[in-house]
Symmetry: C2
Subunit: 131 residues, 2 copies
DNA sequence: CGGGATCCATTAGGATACTG
DNA sequence: CAGTATCCTAATGGATCCCG
């Protein structure tokens, strides 16, 4: 913040991939969320349809209850997923992507595809330089 | 790796967004790298051309020397960026995306665009549920 | 200029046990 | 089933000083 003197001199020469300096702060905020250990995977799991708590837990496999709960809660607070609790016994809670979340889904899918496609290459590089 | 017993029973019913269980491990590995605090931003900075160490440092702004160095080193080891040191005085080192890195660039750009586009919406959701 | 080395605080995140 | 609560460790990341 408080970057400019007069409006004339604000447009710096491509400061960062065309991102204005002021945007950097919240890009970082979003990226912090996106980039935590489980968020992307949870979104990936919900990508092809609503899932119950336990389903998500099983799909991801090694996530702890605690982290799953926290991740789901944050995604819900950000409005990326919906939470629907059915008053049954035993209780049933379904999580699903919201329209907002769907936008992220495509990107996440692209990211995962990329990771899958280039994993071998990356690992080869990693091992070569580790020698 | 070494997950299956016999090849017959491997194909589980849509385990996770179409990702086979075995892939989850390295998807997680890639995502761990991608999703750390600075990697995406560094890639974003390098997206529109080679940059020197100090340039990257200034563009991102609040990253510490230590984290910038570590992030650049990891990206280099993974083969996502190149490192070119010119034998001058004072020394000059330029970092640039490799072809492999360019693939990620498009996704990163999409992610950042998405973050910028929906930041207001997300923050509104966040504040509403924080009441 | 472009880092490396060290020390330290914070935090993320796992394990376990318990609950409506 | 779908969480909460507590404890505790490992990892992240910042600050500082130093070096070629």
């Amino acid at each position: 913040m408080t970057v400019d003197g007069n409006a004339e001199s604000r447009r710096l020469p491509t400061p960062c991939a065309g991102i204005p300096i002021e945007q950097m702060q919240f890009v970082r905020q979003i990226l912090d969320r996106i980039g935590d250990k489980w968020t992307l995977l949870v979104i990936a799991v919900l990508a092809d349809g609503p899932r119950r708590y336990t389903d998500v837990h099983n799909d991801i496999g090694i996530i702890s209850q605690r982290m799953l709960t926290l991740t789901l809660r944050q995604l819900h607070q950000d409005g990326l997923i919906s939470r629907t609790a059915y008053a049954e016994v035993p209780p049933r809670v379904e999580y699903a992507l919201t329209p907002l979340g769907h936008g992220l889904r495509d990107i996440v899918t692209a990211l995962i595809d990329w990771a899958a496609d280039h994993y071998d290459e990356i690992r080869a590089n990693r091992e070569r330089t580790a020698t």
